[in-house]
């Protein structure tokens, strides 16, 4: 077993760390309070190559291996988890959907612009009445000549405000239920597509999340991704790298919270000594550190497994559920170590605590992960 990162992985981790600590970390609180990130940031990340991390080089991407990519996401998340999810949805879900299922024409049309960050990707699967039960989605697409006429509502669409392309899941044959779901590539200027108000969230406040509405939206038939009826297969096949991405996000948040807690415990004096001298604090730090290390190993292993194919669902879910629960636990303890100061915005742990919460909810809830894990165990044995 080899725990060493290779040269490319170290390069990506260090480059992302430099970028994140210089350009993201100093502004995390300001953007959190403003509930948005500056447009120039998206432009800079595009120029630096962060929108083409997983795309093949022939389309202008970096063609990174999954672990290099995950290491970069972890570093970004450590500085600003909202920026991480912006990148993760674009790279893991939108770009990968087209890489895996797009026709040559679709790839040539969209991927080079997505690699350059000219076209930001969004992924719209969830609906107001269909989350974990993705098969229950209600949006429809009826084929009329060379167009699909789409109606329905999607929610929790990350990047909706600035996305140029939405990978959208709709029912082309509602009577077939789950089997009647298809994926469409919907451009932002699609007639009949409207973007709703920004969601006011508990955490990840500077990432953009909205509803989108389709009212007789017209999508060229050529924008069907894969085959009709293949929608859920496409949606689920992208989940692996997406879930490891959320694992990396959770890991980054936990690490940032731990660093703050460690620093504070050395500075804060109570009863005449730094609180790091108390065993109650030491045991907290020991448990936090242990959970982070375990999460890191699970996330990195899951990333390596992603490279080999699609039979990693169980391991990926283990990494996702463990890292996200660890992040919630660790950020909670980081707040506790800070006492009252952990409850106010002057200290970053308050933000980490809020940001961590959603990692147990999106890209499959913890409960959904446990279904995947148990299924993979039962299938093997």
């Amino acid at each position: 077993m080899d725990f060493e990162l290779n040269e490319q992985q170290l390069l990506m981790r260090d480059s992302a760390r430099e970028f994140a600590q210089k350009r993201l970390a100093p502004f995390a609180r300001e953007w959190d309070e403003a509930e948005e990130m500056p447009k120039e940031l998206l432009k800079e990340m595009a120029e630096l190559g962060y929108f083409g991390m997983l795309l093949p080089e022939e389309f202008g991407g970096l063609g990174l291996d999954p672990l290099s990519y995950i290491l970069a996401l972890e570093e970004i998340s450590k500085a600003n988890a909202s920026v991480e999810i912006t990148l993760s949805v674009h790279n893991s879900l939108a770009c990968q959907a087209i890489v895996k299922y797009g026709t040559e024409e679709q790839k040539k049309k969209y991927l080079p612009r997505m690699a350059k960050g000219e076209l930001l990707g969004a992924y719209s699967l969830s609906e107001p009445d269909a989350g974990t039960d993705a098969g229950g989605l209600k949006s429809t697409a009826v084929k009329k000549g060379d167009k699909y006429i789409v109606n329905g509502t999607k929610n929790w669409v990350t990047n909706a405000a600035y996305a140029g392309i939405f990978v959208t899941f709709v029912k082309t044959r509602p009577e077939l239920g789950r089997e009647g779901i298809s994926a469409l590539l919907m451009e932002r200027n699609t007639k009949g597509l409207a973007v709703g108000e920004k969601e006011r969230k508990m955490g990840l406040k500077c990432s953009d999340t909205r509803e989108i509405f389709f009212s007789d939206a017209e999508v060229p038939a050529g924008n069907l991704l894969g085959q009709e009826g293949q929608g859920l297969k496409i949606a689920f096949s992208l989940l692996n790298i997406g879930r490891v991405g959320v694992g990396a996000q959770a890991l980054g948040i936990a690490e940032a919270a731990f660093d703050e807690a460690l620093k504070y415990s050395r500075q804060r004096v109570a009863f005449g000594v730094p609180i790091a001298n108390f065993q109650a604090t030491q045991f907290k730090l020991a448990d936090m550190s242990t959970k982070i290390e375990a999460a890191r190993l699970l996330v990195y292993k899951a990333a390596l497994l992603c490279e080999d194919g699609e039979n990693a669902a169980g391991e990926v879910s283990m990494a996702k559920v463990f890292a996200s629960e660890a992040a919630n636990w660790v950020t909670n303890e980081a707040v506790q170590i800070h006492g009252g100061y952990g409850y106010v915005k002057e200290y970053a742990v308050e933000r980490y605590f809020r940001d961590a919460r959603v990692t147990e909810i999106y890209e499959g809830t913890s409960e959904a992960q446990k279904i995947v894990i148990s299924r993979s165990i039962l299938k093997k044995s």
Binding site: L11, R23, L48, G49, Y50, M53, L62
Partner: protein, 261 residues
């Protein structure tokens, strides 16, 4: 336009240490970093290259540690990198460094502009750009904060002075030393970093540059540093005690004694 940027690998600022015998500044422990002023020169070089569809070469003299800095420059957009590395170059003072750099730059071939940072943060001599211009027999403008105009054979620049700036017009090629006000350096792109990792860095020794110990003989130069020494440590602060009113009164008296107020 072919631009050549000189860059120097220096110790991390916090790690700059004077040799115990006072003979100089110790070489960077670990990899060190690119002299921060040279980063502005590299950025300006990349911008001019982009604007003129030109070529950017970077050159560094000293030991093998210079390679890391050259790779950073390659990641930022330099096309070619040259490392002048020889035991003879290691202990070079600014005048000899300028001689070595001039030999390297001449060997690279035709160029239109040489850019340097105004000084290096380790020895702070600020002598290399001018000495380099002397060796290359070119005009020099140092402390430049802006290229106002750039033609194939002429540049008009703003040069910072203590009480403002001068507008200087120079023929090209010339040696230009830049200050940090000139630009805001970019971060290297991920693709640039990946490319730089495997890019070629040409290494030239003293023999390659047709320089020998005699040519670099210290007695042949009028430059001698008597002694390097670190600035004296800051005296310890004084803690005032008492009630807030007493402390304020004591502070007031001390500031008055010091003629600050």
């Amino acid at each position: 336009m072919h631009i050549v940027v000189c860059c120097k690998q220096v110790p991390e600022i916090a790690g700059i240490k004077v040799a115990p015998d006072g003979s100089g500044v110790l070489p960077p422990p670990g990899g060190g970093m690119v002299n921060p002023f040279d980063v502005y020169a590299i950025e300006e070089g990349v911008r001019i290259k982009e604007k003129t569809s030109g070529k950017l070469s970077v050159i560094s003299s000293g030991g093998p540690t210079g390679e890391a800095g050259l790779r950073e420059a390659l990641a930022l957009g330099a096309d070619e990198a040259y490392l002048l590395s020889d035991p003879l170059f290691l202990t070079a003072d600014p005048l000899r460094t300028a001689l070595v750099l001039a030999a390297g730059i001449k060997k690279i071939g035709a160029f239109d502009l040489v850019l340097c940072g105004k000084q290096a943060v380790d020895d702070d001599s600020s002598a290399v750009p001018a000495a380099l211009a002397q060796n290359l027999e070119l005009p020099q403008v140092i402390f430049v904060k802006k290229f106002e105009e750039l033609q194939p054979k002429m540049a008009k620049v703003f040069r910072m002075t203590d009480d403002g700036y001068e507008v200087v017009e120079t023929s090209l090629p010339a040696v230009v030393g830049v200050v940090k006000e000139i630009n805001e350096p970019r971060l290297p792109s991920l693709k640039g970093k990946m490319r730089a990792k495997s890019a070629k860095v040409t290494t030239w020794s003293a023999a390659d540059l047709e320089l020998d110990a005699q040519a670099l003989n210290p007695s042949g130069f009028g430059y001698k540093v008597e002694q390097f020494y670190p600035p004296p440590p800051r005296p310890k602060g004084e803690m005032l005690t008492g009630t807030p009113e007493e402390i304020a009164e004591k502070l007031f008296q001390k500031l008055r004694q010091a003629q600050v107020i």
